[in-house]
């Protein structure tokens, strides 16, 4: 029986082990320096983007000043719904930060090769997302200038915070997370800033880079202690990621409100946070690799591997959604059951179905390898994930408070223009910092990329490569996606 051979492009693509992703289009250390440092030159499009971000931020600041002058009543709170867009957005931004730490810190000890070219971007995203998140509990205060009362310090009133309160745990968790993430980002940047310093011709910029690089010289002594310290920072960040969003979930789970008082919350929140952060990584990295001409660094294989992680976390989140319903049914608690019915088929059906569609149903498309390797679809999906994860927090916060134990308390909630303006301002704040970062510092880690680029050797031909163990091996036949 005759068979017809399928064209090569239609053949199933090999499943690339994520630890063995290579960069065959990057041939030398000098090329890495040349191409990544070239991305630092500002462009007209960058200035336009920065202008839009600053405008959004100014609108947010103006609205906040209005809110301080008029009082929190302008923000759409409707008793007993006294947590609204600010707390939703706080949880949203903390969650965004988590994928950054997952990619930069947790995947580092596991030697996942696909993290190398995307981790700097993800780590910067983490720092700026946590900086944004930290603003929201302050925005949510009636007297925002008193926010420091949550920090334990000796003063004349002899008043101390209540360490049994989840809100105080939050302060410790978020401040630790911000400090450690910023430290991790900066420590990783030091060798790259030294590379910028050595290339810089402008004396003022050279001086600034010299100070920021702390006189780094790439010596064996520096690298030996740097690699060990970096590993320990990654090891500290790994449980920190799990603890921070667990603590954020305690803000809800410690209360007796229906829909909140569940032991499933910490893992549910952590999985959701990582899922939302991967969505934001796609939203940022897919346009960036195109605009910066870095498609041979962040290849289709990198995106494919990250998409598998996205699919996995989506499945965990989906399982958590289903488990919540099962727990409500199995508990026999009428209030809990009534609340979940109201959430999905009653008052808040539209929000719940946006959440379920964006976070549970659409990511199932990532089972298709063709769609995992389609950057247009990944970008569109990432926007849906961002939307869906914001609505997940809306569905957690608002339906519970608006539908508590007593029917006479049941009410509704609608954000006002003040809420939306401050939400927009938060995106402006985040985007402004990120845009400033990508034109001052390398968006791909120069020193770490060099670790997976074959070094120049006397005794090996130029067509050899190194595997993840650092051994020199011949290149396999061209792997699809590596040049894209």
């Amino acid at each position: 029986m005759a068979t017809v051979a399928r064209p090569a492009e239609e053949m199933p693509r090999p499943n690339i082990p994520s630890a063995n992703i290579q960069l065959p289009a990057v041939r030398s250390y000098q090329q890495v320096n040349d191409e990544i440092i070239a991305t630092l030159t500002p462009t007209v499009a960058w200035f336009i983007g920065l202008g839009i971000a600053i405008t959004a931020l100014l609108i947010g600041i103006g609205t906040w000043i209005y809110q301080i002058y008029m009082g929190l009543g302008v923000a759409g709170y409707n008793p007993p719904v006294m947590w609204g867009v600010y707390i939703i957005t706080f949880v949203f931004w903390v969650g965004i930060g988590h994928a950054g730490t997952l990619i930069s810190a947790i995947l580092y000890p596991f030697r996942a090769g696909f993290r190398t070219t995307i981790y700097r971007c993800a780590e910067a995203m983490t720092v700026f997302a946590v900086m944004t998140a930290g603003l929201f509990p302050i925005l949510h205060l009636g007297r925002p200038w008193k926010f420091f009362w949550l920090i334990p310090y000796p003063h004349w009133r002899f008043i101390w915070p209540n360490f049994k309160s989840p809100l105080v745990w939050d302060v410790f968790a978020i401040l630790t997370y911000l400090t450690v993430s910023t430290t991790f980002l900066y420590v990783g940047l030091v060798p790259d800033i030294a590379a910028l310093r050595d290339r810089e011709a402008n004396p003022i910029r050279k001086r600034i880079y010299s100070v920021l690089s702390l006189g780094w010289r790439n010596s064996d002594r520096e690298w030996r202690h740097f690699t060990r310290a970096y590993l320990f920072l990654a090891a500290f960040s790994t449980p920190l990621v799990l603890s921070v969003h667990s603590v954020v979930s305690f803000d809800f789970a410690m209360a007796l409100v229906p829909g909140w008082h569940a032991t499933i919350f910490p893992p549910y929140f952590v999985a959701g946070a990582i899922f939302s952060g991967i969505g934001m990584v796609f939203t940022i990295i897919i346009p960036l690799r195109r605009w910066f001409g870095l498609r041979h660094y962040v290849t289709i294989n990198h995106l494919d591997a990250a998409a598998k992680l996205c699919l996995f976390t989506s499945l965990v989140v989906g399982l958590a959604y289903i488990t919540e319903f099962w727990v409500a049914w199995y508990s026999g608690n009428k209030v809990e059951q009534e609340y979940f019915m109201n959430r999905v088929f009653g008052q808040w059906w539209w929000a719940a179905w946006i959440m379920l569609t964006c976070n549970m149903i659409l990511p199932l498309t990532l089972f298709s390898q063709r769609l995992r390797r389609n950057t247009t679809w990944l970008f569109i999906l990432s926007l849906f994930i961002n939307l869906g994860m914001w609505f997940e927090r809306f569905v957690i916060v608002v339906p519970s408070l608006s539908h508590e134990f007593e029917p006479w308390q049941w009410t509704t909630y609608a954000p006002t223009w003040v809420d939306w303006s401050i939400l927009m301002g938060s995106f402006g704040w985040f985007s402004m910092w990120f845009l400033l970062f990508i034109k001052q510092f390398p968006v791909i880690a120069i020193a770490e990329v060099k670790e997976i680029v074959p070094p120049r050797l006397r005794t090996h031909a130029a067509t050899t490569d190194i595997n993840v163990s650092g051994q020199h091996v011949d290149y396999a036949p061209e792997t699809p996606g590596e040049h894209e």
Binding site: F163, T176, F184, W216, H225, F226, A229, F236
Partner: protein, 166 residues
């Protein structure tokens, strides 16, 4: 401080030069590389980094402080919450854990800077901007009478440039 600096294009040339310099006990060797490489680490055969001690001490201090501040404040300002003991170790574990991570991470970075001698205020001698680009460097700190021998070893192993500095 005086010595000889050799610039290498190839990694294996630098590794061979290090091995020969160590055999000949030419002087104190510092190697520069654009990225950390196991081959160089093995050739230099340094012991494990002592940064881990800073991490351990910082982590222990942090967790102790975290528990202490929470327990001390509770005793100072006693308030019964949910019928639980005044110092409740379960919720205070959160504070202890966060402080362990915070102080442990910061002391790790402090330790790295201290033992790696960073920040360095002056670049002094024995460095070339090419070492952050793509080349490898070997700086051998040695007395004047050994400079000729070191220069010969560096050149014989493929150094593209050798210069004396002080």
């Amino acid at each position: 401080m005086r010595g000889v600096l050799g610039v290498f294009r190839e990694l294996d040339s630098a590794v061979d030069a290090i091995a020969e310099l160590r055999r000949s006990k030419a002087g104190s060797i510092t190697v520069y590389s654009p990225t950390p490489r196991h081959e160089l680490e093995h050739a230099l055969a340094h012991g494990p980094s002592v940064v881990r001690r800073f991490t351990l001490v910082g982590g222990l201090l942090g967790v102790t402080f975290g528990y202490w501040i929470a327990i001390w404040v509770s005793e100072y300002w006693p308030m019964v919450v949910g019928g639980k003991p005044i110092p409740s170790w379960v919720p205070y574990t959160i504070i202890g854990f966060e402080m362990m991570v915070l102080v442990g991470a910061l002391s790790t970075v402090f330790g790295m800077f201290a033992v790696a001698r960073v920040p360095r205020l002056m670049m002094t001698v024995g460095y070339d901007p090419r070492f952050s680009d793509g080349d490898y460097g070997i700086w051998v700190e040695c007395p004047p009478d050994r400079e000729a021998k070191v220069t010969q070893v560096l050149q014989a192993n493929g150094a593209v440039e050798v210069r004396r500095e002080r």
